[in-house]
């Protein structure tokens, strides 16, 4: 039977391996419609904006909620790396999670139907995408070769047919497409009605615009690179949080040998944000992306950067070095990237590898070497 067989995942939904991170300022009513698919899972709600507002979570969902006061309390002075009044604050949820996989979704996204009328189980499809290999080294013209009913085509090298681990699964949206403000202004009535029934790996060395509305990733592999930048209040730019994270995460994945997929699953994006507001928010980004993109396209990470965190630290240095001349904002961003990694490593101390400890007992760091890697109390 052709298509993605999600029955296995639907029967055993891996709820111990997944956290669903949702940034919100208003309400979580949208979760009512998602019950059949998301109710098994633990939610991490990141409440942006006014912390005194009480966000009501629909009955039956298991969740933890963090508002700005919580973020400040948990991170202390490092809280300044988390955006305020911008969806980029969601990456705080990535940091406090302890799960293998993260799924993040916007609060104006609903369940879509496939062409047969069947409701789409986004989380099952994302898990399937993350648990099956990617093929970034050679493009398969029949798209995902691991899908039932398809395969590698003639001429696809056999040595590349095992694929690599998938780190990111980027889903799409029916109805309101993810357009920038100028495009929204020119095409206010355009709706995405085209259901493209495919998942594909984005080739190595190729960049793409990663949208945070319907996104899943392997936190263990690439979590530290999923920093959504400095956006929103007090910052000169907004609506580039997921773009920044996407470009950074892609170069990190390419360097570490992981794959990034895009395509299914679709969800239904219901709300078109105000294009005039969007234009104000993103207009610096429209110019800066002309520099940001070549920056990411041309950079090369060093061999020594063999984890996502190390890659990201190296990336922060390159950001400061190469992009500050575009705008001083990037110097602030580079510093925030370092803060993010420091905060990440404090909340997520490196897992002890018992085997390697026998051979190489860890040297206790002294004050002069820097801070002890164990988390503070």
């Amino acid at each position: 039977m052709a298509g993605y067989n999600l029955e296995g995942i639907e029967a055993a939904p891996l709820k111990d391996d997944v956290d669903i991170v949702i940034p919100t300022i208003r309400s979580l009513d949208f979760l009512e419609q998602w019950r059949p698919f998301l109710q098994h899972y633990h939610l991490i709600i990141v409440q942006d904006g006014d912390p005194s507002i009480k966000i009501k979570v629909p009955e039956g969902y298991d969740y933890e909620l963090y508002n700005r006061n919580d973020i400040n309390r948990i991170l202390g002075p490092r809280a300044n790396c988390i955006s305020y009044k911008d969806g980029g604050c969601r990456c705080f949820g990535f940091m406090v999670s302890k799960k293998k996989y993260i799924y993040t979704i916007d609060d104006d996204c609903f369940v879509a139907k496939d062409p047969s009328g069947k409701e789409i189980n986004v989380i099952a499809q994302h898990i399937k995408n993350l648990e099956t290999p990617s093929t970034p080294h050679y493009f398969n013209t029949l798209y995902d070769p691991f899908r039932e009913g398809t395969d590698f085509v003639r001429g696809y090298p056999f040595s590349l047919r095992e694929g690599v681990q998938t780190a990111i699964s980027h889903g799409l949206w029916l109805n309101i497409p993810d357009y920038d403000a100028p495009t929204q202004l020119v095409k206010p009535r355009e709706r995405n009605t085209r259901y493209v029934d495919a998942v594909m790996t984005i080739p190595k060395g190729v960049l793409y615009p990663m949208c945070g509305m319907n996104l899943a990733f392997n936190r263990e592999l690439v979590g530290p690179a999923m920093y959504f930048g400095l956006m929103g209040e007090g910052q000169p730019i907004s609506r580039y949080d997921d773009m920044w994270a996407g470009w950074a995460a892609k170069v990190v994945c390419d360097h570490l040998g992981f794959g990034v997929k895009t395509g299914l699953p679709y969800l239904w994006h219901s709300k078109a944000s105000n294009p005039f507001v969007n234009l104000k928010k993103e207009h610096k980004g429209l110019h800066w992306q002309e520099d940001m993109v070549p920056f990411f396209q041309n950079l090369r990470l060093s061999k020594e950067s063999d984890t996502a965190a190390k890659c990201y630290m190296e990336l922060s240095k390159m950001t400061k070095e190469k992009l500050t001349k575009v705008d001083p904002y990037f110097e602030k961003l580079a510093d925030a990237m370092v803060t993010w990694i420091e905060a990440w490593e404090e909340l997520n101390p490196p897992v002890k590898n018992e085997a390697s400890e026998e051979l190489n007992p860890p040297v206790k760091k002294t004050q002069s070497d820097g801070e002890d890697v164990k988390a503070k109390g």
């Binding site: 493009f139 001429g155 995405n192 080739p203 190729v206």
Partner: protein, 348 residues
């Protein structure tokens, strides 16, 4: 863009005839081939007379014609599936659309027959976007656009060199795969056209393909011939090699290659298990070709298609020649091909 909007005078439909009876093939394509000029090239090793139904604007070429144009010794370049390249050589049109003679029009999910010719020409006429991946695929089609985060400086795209279509029913799988999954048929209609990013390699199939002859004609080289090459696609790699050359040269010159729609319906022919009995040398050649193309850099001075092919042939001979005589032969064939192309098209 509808079929009324494309200029049929700019297109040649080139069909390589490996089967003598083209009645079913041409009859099924009649709604979409009518109004176009057809070039049918007969496999020089095919003994029977071709059977072509009435009502088509068609020129047929056979071994005799090949020998007249390129000489008897060079005519061997066009045997088997490579016969179609003779059609590419002598065509005078801007666009070529080429479909294997065991394919018929497919139906889309709504039940309508797919006009593969028009879709290919539309793909070729619209820009490609190889420098940045658009997550909504083709940004120029109705109902879609570039997404947020796509650099504006890259939104005008580049010329499209080739349009690689797909296949329902019998997909273009290799013999081991099809032999293992004898019952597998492709039923998945993926409603998208997309540009394959620059520097990404892919297997280009000759079963359902179109290209801009004016832009990249000489780069479609009939060069790699397997020792046991046969009359079913499972026993060839000529198009895969040709595609690797074409993609590399397109990337070098800043052109784009698209993949996706249109689909054709590919009929049953041959036996994958039978093909598997032959020594599968193609696998070895592919494994050697991939690292070669991955690391290859054509000189910046190679700005014309013909120069690119010559440089590529040089590199093949130098770096792959000692690995397998098939590569040396391919390199020689590529050089010969450019000579033929220049001499045949010198008056153009």
């Amino acid at each position: 863009m509808s079929s009324a909007e494309i200029n049929k005078n700019e297109v040649d439909i080139v069909i390589g005839a490996l089967n003598a009876d083209l009645t079913q093939f041409l009859t099924s394509w009649r709604p979409f081939f009518s109004g176009f000029h057809l070039i049918v090239v007969k496999d020089p090793e095919l003994k029977e007379e071709l059977n072509i139904p009435e009502g088509f604007d068609v020129d047929v070429y056979s071994k005799t014609d090949m020998e007249k144009v390129v000489g008897a010794s060079n005519a061997t370049m066009f045997s088997g599936y490579s016969c179609r390249y003779f059609g590419y050589l002598i065509s005078k049109k801007k666009y070529i659309v080429s479909i294997d003679d065991d394919c018929v029009p497919a139906k889309d999910p709504k039940g309508f027959l797919v006009d593969a010719v028009t879709q290919h020409v539309i793909n070729l006429e619209n820009p490609a976007t190889p420098l940045f991946f658009n997550t909504l695929y083709d940004p120029y089609c109705e109902g879609a656009d570039f997404v947020r985060g796509y650099p504006f400086s890259l939104r005008s795209g580049v010329p499209c060199a080739a349009s690689c279509g797909l296949w329902l029913n019998l997909a273009d799988l290799d013999a081991p795969t099809q032999a293992l999954k004898t019952e597998q048929r492709n039923t998945s209609y993926v409603d998208a056209v997309m540009t394959v990013p620059a520097k990404a390699m892919l297997p280009i199939s000759g079963i359902n393909i179109a290209f801009n002859r004016e832009l990249v004609g000489p780069a479609l080289v009939p060069a790699l011939r397997l020792a046991g090459e046969g009359k079913v696609r499972w026993e060839t790699l000529e198009d895969v090699w040709c595609g690797m050359c074409l993609k590399h040269i397109s990337d070098h010159l800043g052109y784009g290659v698209k993949t996706g729609l249109p689909y054709v319906w590919r009929n049953e022919r041959g036996d994958a298990v039978e093909s598997l009995r032959k020594k599968w040398e193609g696998m070895k050649l592919m494994e050697k070709s991939v690292p070669f193309f991955e690391s290859l850099k054509l000189p910046e001075t190679a700005l014309k298609i013909e120069d690119c092919v010559i440089e590529l042939a040089k590199a093949v001979k130098e770096q792959l020649g000692s690995d397998d005589p098939a590569f040396t032969q391919a390199a020689d064939a590529m050089v010969k091909w450019i000579q033929l192309w220049n001499s045949v098209n010198s008056s153009v």
